[in-house]
């Protein structure tokens, strides 16, 4: 387990940069804030003894997906958005729904009995988690694993088809 200080540091870092993603006007700044938010989230995964998930969070999300985002932002040459007339009704409605959701989640978690319990200690080492996850992936979850392979193949073909220039 992680010390409470580190938990609060990474959690607040994740939330602050998550807010920065939404309120930044420049898309590049938004994307870079999202990278920092994901790195803090990876630290939280490591604090929950999920080393493999933390590592693929850094490699896949902060590495691959965010590079894709930045690449598209550069390709489309998006500048700082011009100040448009803000649709106040839509924004206020969105914020109100989000606020209601926060209140709902905190009241549910507040009533949840197990939410106040701390995490039980682990007696077995968690350093072989890649081994354990691999056993599950190729054993119990073999069919979903193959389906996910097909999903990635379809997504690749779809992305190539969509971004192909029409030649007629």
């Amino acid at each position: 387990m992680m010390s409470p200080f580190l938990f609060w540091m990474f959690a607040s870092m994740m939330l602050v940069f998550g807010v920065a993603v939404v309120i930044n006007r420049n898309p590049v700044a938004s994307a870079l804030s999202l990278v920092v938010s994901f790195l803090a989230l990876a630290a939280l995964f490591v604090s929950l003894d999920a080393y493999f998930i933390g590592i693929i969070q850094v490699l896949v999300y902060a590495g691959a997906i965010m590079v894709l985002f930045l690449f598209i932002i550069m390709l489309l040459d998006l500048r700082v958005e011009k100040l448009r007339k803000i649709n106040w009704i839509a924004s206020a409605g969105g914020l109100a729904v989000a606020l209601a959701l926060t209140i709902q989640i905190s009241s549910v978690v507040g009533r949840l009995g197990i939410a106040k319990k701390t995490f039980p200690p682990l007696t077995r080492s968690t350093s072989d988690d890649v081994h354990q996850i691999g056993l599950l992936l190729f054993g119990n979850y073999n069919l979903p694993f193959q389906i996910i392979g097909v999903v990635i193949l379809v997504a690749t073909i779809g992305a190539v088809m969509l971004s192909r220039r029409e030649t007629r």
Partner: protein, 106 residues
């Protein structure tokens, strides 16, 4: 000490930030980024519950880790297709602003 509820609250707040981003922002790329925030909030609560429910022998239960693995994979595929659609749309209309795209609006 940090309890399960702390992780759940943090994950809920992250989900809400992503939700507010989808509702408030009008740039498609920012909306896609806010969607990623929501997916990651779900991942965080899955991993927190997995760490909370250890097996009787005191070993971690890795089922949730496999689910998170699948979610990350699907999110990667979704971003690839979504950004390809954004590029195709930008070629057609020269905009990424959702309010400029209303051909289907009645």
């Amino acid at each position: 000490m940090i309890a399960l509820g702390h992780y759940l609250i943090v994950s809920g707040i992250l989900f809400t930030i992503g939700f507010a981003g989808v509702m408030v922002r009008r740039n498609i790329i920012i909306i896609l980024m806010a969607l990623e925030l929501m997916l990651n909030a779900a991942n965080l609560s899955l991993v927190a519950f997995s760490r909370f429910h250890v097996d009787p022998g005191g070993a971690l239960n890795y089922n949730a880790h496999v689910f998170v693995f699948f979610i990350i994979t699907v999110a990667a595929a979704e971003v690839a297709v979504g950004l390809a659609i954004v590029v195709a749309l930008f070629r057609l209309r020269q905009t990424t602003h959702v309010e400029d795209i209303m051909s289907l609006k009645f």
